[in-house]
Amino acid sequence: MPSQPDLVTFTVDGKEAQVPAGTLLIEAVKAAGVHIPHFCYHPRMKPVGMCRMCLVQVEGPRGMMLGTSCTMPVTEGMVVHTDTDTVAKAQEGVLEFLLLNHPLDCPVCDRGGECPLQDQTMAAGPGESRFVEEKRHYPKPIPISDLVLLDRERCILCARCTRFSDEISGDPLIEFKDRGNATQVNTFPDEPFASYFSGNTVQICPVGALTATPYRFRARPWDLEAVESTCPHCSVGCRISVQASRNEALRFLGVDNGPVNQGWLCDKGRFGFEFLNSGDRLDTPLVRDEDGDLVEASWAEALDRAAAGLSAAAAEGPGRLAGLGGARSTNEEAYAFGRFVRETLGSNHLDAQLGDGLDPRVLAGITPRAAIDDLERARTVLVWAPDLKEELPVLYLRVRRAATELGANLVVVHPRATGLDPVATHTLRYRPGAGTEMLRRLADGSGDLAAVRAALDEGPVVAIIGRPGLGDDPRLAEAVMAFAAGLPDAAVLPVTRRSNVYGAADMGLAPTLLPGRVANDAPGRDAAGILEGLASGDLGGLVLLGSDPATDYVEPQQAAAALDAAGFTVAIDLFLTPSAAKADVVLPALGFAETEGTVTNLEGRVQKVNRLLPGPGSARPAHEILEDLARRMGGSIGAASAEALAAEIAGTAPAYAGITWEALSWGAGREGIVAPGPEGSQPLAVAPEDHAPPPAARDLVLHQARVLYDRGTLTQAGPSLAKLAKEPAAYVHPEDATRFGIKAGAAVRLTGSGGSAELPVVLDPSLVAGTVYVPLHLGAALGAGLEISMEAVT
């Protein structure tokens, strides 16, 4: 436990207050209810004292001294004045100066109405300017990336954006240029601001200099309605504000949730609202007609058809039906889905993951789990997981902060270079399949790994562990967790990406689990087993809840074949995905921001998601659809409302006791509540030797991992993100390229367990020779097998 910092007492405007020693004055005065206007200061970044707006007077031995409160730490007995004539005059002067070159754009500026410069000029500025000369002019705006535009005239040179990209996100692609009379923010020519976090600069720019294309000229702030919610794009669960006008989502803004996102969002989260407004959203039920085409139908007709088909399959015997999905639903919907499959369909074949994640018992917190905020205190961080920058971007920011700001040792183990490598103390690379060997050597810690092992022995350790790529067996991750749990003062955070997959596991959407993190003694089939059963005829039907195995399953072609073979399929979804297109009945569901409920992030933190939009056409909440189906099949899952389900969860799932909507909506509950691990949670008892495939002695192995912008349905449904997905490529080690006679820029044909593709070659010396890396979901489907064959295409 860090010791409590000493408190100091100081006086501001005659009021006494106490704050921890070292607090900056601009923060400290808040304790006395005083606000100091400012532009460049941002509580999550280092102060620079650039804008001079935060000037205050401090009493000193030589009288009253003007100083910037954002750079001055409070000291014992300090006497501060923020409301004197001198301070007012200083603020007026600073504003007059900042406005010399600032254009009168307010009526056409997106920031107008929520602009710190506008507000503070109204509050503290001079009535008029003495400046009669011509203002500075620039062509406006210039695009500095595919998403961000820059109006240089409006910039007040506060350096928030440049500091963010340097200090926080670590991709300083924007900087001041031509410093002096013509200082401006800009990129290097031909090197756009292509950061995964660029949208944060738009949010923190204190004027309208930086704007984002998806929102530019779309609304005025006072026309927006907003609710606080949780980002639906990955399992970090960043807090956001959903903002809409005329029932159309127009932007997501980051909300500062200290233990999770600290105000930041990744661009996929921030601009990933567009799918909600997509014209491709399902807005009416579809049923298959005699010719085999999906045609529009009424809800009554579609529900009747779905219930009849499912009942017929169920009548063939117990366990003939299965359910896949729920990892993108709310906990309430997931819970309803579990009850529907188990009670109405009478089946234990139920999985929220698609063979690409971790053992659901790990997700449901069978082991003691780290919280993201443990990174603030970690001495050492071990990341043996997916490339966090690509899959869990804001977790990457938190780890990066631990390694840079907070000085933790960072050890990254991965088959190739990751986004964290530039700030890592040690990076270890291995061939997929040889992870067990790597783990054995690491645990042993001899030879060249001695220094790494020594770092890992410095606690507290936070270990972030998952499957770096598809080629890594989930049991390897468990073995790594078992190893990491034994490190000094260690806490383990098991990571996988899909947004509410942890909540789905907690709600029992797994063959081995019942709701509330309870083991299921009669486990059913998992995703692989379900798809096999459908293909072989052992299973007669399937219900999909927001799940697209034909795209997302590790062997997409196998999944597609299984869906073709399935006797009867009902798909509940937002889009007509490739899987839904194969269903017999398609039921349109309401999605994010259209339903209310809770979600659970990767640390087990339960947060609220809220409703703001009506959703398209006659789409309905998933739990209502499931209840209607259950009733038609002669039962009920008691899903009268999402709130009733929430109450039932709180009653059924011990870990969720007390985590009510009410508790999550106010005060500290808005940060979310971490559901405690189950009673007597057992550590994983896996030794590295126990579970793991033998290291591959094969010629070439395939490493496949996700990238942030892929061809997934939700990404492609929004125009801003859709265009950011790259073309697929094969990343080949230079030695292998020589061995196979391949030149960079040439093409190769790769053949894997589930398909074959011709791809351009990129040389990647960060791989271990003998490994080929192919990004997932960019269009090359090779299957999940480790072995791959490669030949040069001429």
Binding site: D166, D171, P172, L173, I174, E175, F176, K177, D178, R179, G180, N186, T187, F188, P189, D190, E191
Partner: protein, 205 residues
Amino acid sequence: MTWSRATETRAAAILARYPEKRSAVMPLLYLAMAEEGGDLTEDGMRRVAELTGLSAAQVQAVASFYTMYKRDGVGRYLVSVCTSISCMLCGGDEVLDAVADETGVPDGETGEDGLFSVEHVECIGACGGAPAVQVNYELVEGVTPEQARSLCRWLAEQRPETVVGDDLQERFGGQRSFDWGPEEAEGATGPVPAFGPLGTTGERS
């Protein structure tokens, strides 16, 4: 991209002098300029970024602050006329006008034939001999507008391979602030003699 082997060796020697690689950015920029014949190109800045671990935008941020990093090319003779206070009081502006008129190259530009670049500069430390002029960073003091004209004519006609300050002073100079130390006949084609041994001045060696 990489530079010539000789330049890369010099870059490595410069980098080795600093505990933090990024601290070497300024001498490396001179090296980049020397490598490309006096012009700091985008490729040059990119290479400096690679060597220092900075982003190209960060290198550009440094390079664009200093006027002595020439990003728009520079002529064979760079004529810099001081217009800071001492020189201004003693007629620096008139000298600048004379140079611009005689060469046909306006302040801040390079002539089409690439012979002259003309610029005004802030104090070059020769206030005692104001007004002062530099040709390729070699100093001449006490220059009248007429002498400046003959200086330019002489450069255009003689096209000297190297320009040497003492020589210029003798031909075109007036009052000198003080003796500039031992005579050296090499001349400078770059702005930082201190890094001469490391090649940043662009001398052919």
